[in-house]
Symmetry: C2
């Protein structure tokens, strides 16, 4: 990637997908600038942000050619991670070129949207943050439905982690980054991971092996601790 | 891909992601064998299928090396599509190598999981099929919530299709295949696409340009017509 390209990340530190993209950039020394874009303040629905990301979600990125002024934008955290890998010289382990190794990472990334994210971020948000931030509660039955996604997701992750050190093999991939950034927040619903010992050990290892991830989480951890009265991670 | 590899697709014709994978294989003359795996009969939850796809969803594929007997499996329709592209010599337009074109396809494929699929397949299934097949109904409020995903998804697709002939540019990609296979079923909730004229025209064009897609849909269309009493597509 030419050094004439400037990378901007539209970021809310309380968003797990944002934390995944920012962590990945920091772990790989990819230079970027942050533009804080608050979900709680509904900034993603404002017309100027809709021009940047018509999906109206974060994270989004903008690349600016500093010579020509040409701008290009992209949404969806997993698409952003793949794009950064396709355009930067990065270690192969993140998203291996070997087709079967890559396929398992792709499988995880697709599964993530409809399982772990339902079970972690969306459940945690609905259970904990929405009532305090928006005075909005979901019926208990619906919360229970989403809670089953969390336990089903953890059981499958436990099975994957019984086969290999990381979620998709013996090396850390973008699947691990995305998953870890989702799962850290279960701390705030006092959720005990002890029933899934391999997941618990993997998450501990992910955080200890990559202090950058924890560093990126600090603003969120502070916010969540203040909101919930729970201890910090 | 060596001709010693046999491809098996675990398939339920009533599943949109299955129809996308089967359509893609047929459009590209990729040989495969089908193993019918019924969701309605709960076959995805049986132990023998769990060994093939621990995610317990369809489609899944198995590749068998006919010389060594070695077997390899994969789940998630978009991961399967990417894997087929990465291992077969196929036209570039399906999933362009150029990073920014590819990124827009990846962006669509990620968005698809949490928007169009919520709004189309899951809404249609809950609204129409679940009551008849499983005597299960969702509260009207929850259905309304999912219905908004359908209309929001269509509005965004309309915007994308105002910019280019296909969802991610001037050429047909796997995003179009995945989206078309989801959207065809809105026919069975008597949903009028006229408010989204570009989507309506694109879907008509997709089906007419690719008679294979409609052919793959025949078992589903027959099943849905019988179940709902609606006319065939």
């Amino acid at each position: 990637m030419s050094s004439t390209k400037k990378l901007i990340i539209y970021n809310d530190p309380n968003s797990a997908p944002c934390r995944a993209v920012v962590s990945f950039c920091k772990l790989n020394n990819i230079p970027f600038e942050l533009v804080e874009t608050s979900v709680a303040k509904m900034q993603v629905f404002q017309p100027e942000f809709k021009k940047i990301n018509p999906i109206q979600q974060i994270p989004a990125i903008k690349e600016i050619d500093t010579q020509t002024g040409e701008e290009w934008t992209l949404g969806e955290s997993h698409a952003i991670l793949r794009y950064l890998i396709n355009t930067r010289q990065l270690p192969d382990h993140w998203y291996p070129k070997e087709p079967r190794l890559r396929a398992k990472v792709d499988q995880y990334l697709d599964w993530h949207h409809t399982f772990l994210r339902q079970g972690s971020s969306i459940f945690v948000f609905m259970k904990l943050f929405a009532p305090k931030l928006f005075q909005k509660t979901l019926p208990e039955e619906q919360l229970k439905f989403q809670f089953t996604y969390l336990t089903r997701s953890l059981s499958l992750m436990e099975r994957w982690l019984a086969q290999s050190k990381y979620l998709c093999g013996e090396q850390m991939t973008i699947a691990d980054i995305s998953a870890a950034c989702e799962l850290i927040q279960t701390k705030f619903i006092a959720f005990d991971l002890a029933k899934w010992p391999k997941v618990q050990a993997w998450l501990k290892h992910m955080v200890e092996e990559n202090p950058t991830i924890l560093e990126v989480h600090q603003p969120f951890l502070k916010f969540a601790s203040e909101l919930t009265g729970q201890a910090k991670l």
